[in-house]
């Protein structure tokens, strides 16, 4: 699942994994941020993210977990209280 990542000095990236579409975009068009509300019954948007797990830095891609139940939990920040 999650592959081990090396610890460098830069903060590794990650983010939405866009569906592969060969749409040509005119350079003048500014890209609108996707903020559409999630709905039940729709496919969870894929993403990659760096992280930490049990003594290792890892890279995770959501769709590598297809076939399993996934709980994706967001929280405000490390060292917050609840």
């Amino acid at each position: 699942m999650a592959e081990e990542a090396s610890a460098g000095c830069t903060r590794p990236g990650g983010g939405p994994v866009a569906e592969e579409t060969a749409v040509e975009e005119a350079p003048t068009i500014t890209r609108k941020e996707e903020t559409a509300m999630i709905r039940v019954g729709q496919k969870a948007p894929d993403f990659t993210a760096s992280g930490y797990q049990q003594g290792k830095f890892v890279n995770v891609r959501l769709y590598e977990y297809l076939g399993k139940w996934v709980l994706l939990c967001f929280y405000p920040g490390d060292f917050t209280f609840v």
């Binding site: 990650g14 939405p16 709905r39 992280g51 769709y63 994706l72």
Partner: protein
């Protein structure tokens, strides 16, 4: 997942969480710098620059079956999350032939939706069951 880097996740796990959970947090603590993924899931608070407490149940097909979003000061109920996962797993295992009424937990009666149940839920399920 939070906007913190994986380095901060490590320190939090090392310094605090491992004192609450033996061996530290077992699952991946993910980093969402800038909230790009949180925006995709509609739970990023732009003004504060943080993720709100969004929790998504994703089934083996990658389909979102449920979500809950709380503002930062109120924590979640893990038992309720587990109960919901167990309910979705039961529904999936029965191919949708069974459904879990309000208050269901493992061992309690399920309902079998169909024409014979129309107007008969009152016989199959009591209101008190929603509360225990």
């Amino acid at each position: 997942m939070s906007v913190d880097s994986m380095f901060v996740h490590k320190m939090w796990d090392d310094d605090e969480l491992s004192k609450m959970v033996k061996g530290g947090v077992p699952f991946a603590m993910l980093s969402d710098a800038g909230g790009k993924i949180g925006k995709l899931y509609g739970i990023f608070d732009e003004a504060a620059g943080i993720e709100t407490r969004g929790r998504f149940i994703i089934d083996p097909d990658g389909v979102i079956q449920g979500f809950e979003v709380l503002s930062p000061p109120v924590g979640r109920n893990v038992n309720e999350t587990i109960r919901q996962v167990q309910a979705f797993q039961l529904v999936r295992a029965t191919g949708g032939a069974e459904a879990t009424p309000s208050g269901w937990r493992p061992g309690k009666k399920t309902l079998k939706p169909g024409i014979n149940l129309v107007g008969k839920v009152w016989q199959e399920w009591k209101t008190e069951e929603a509360f225990d």
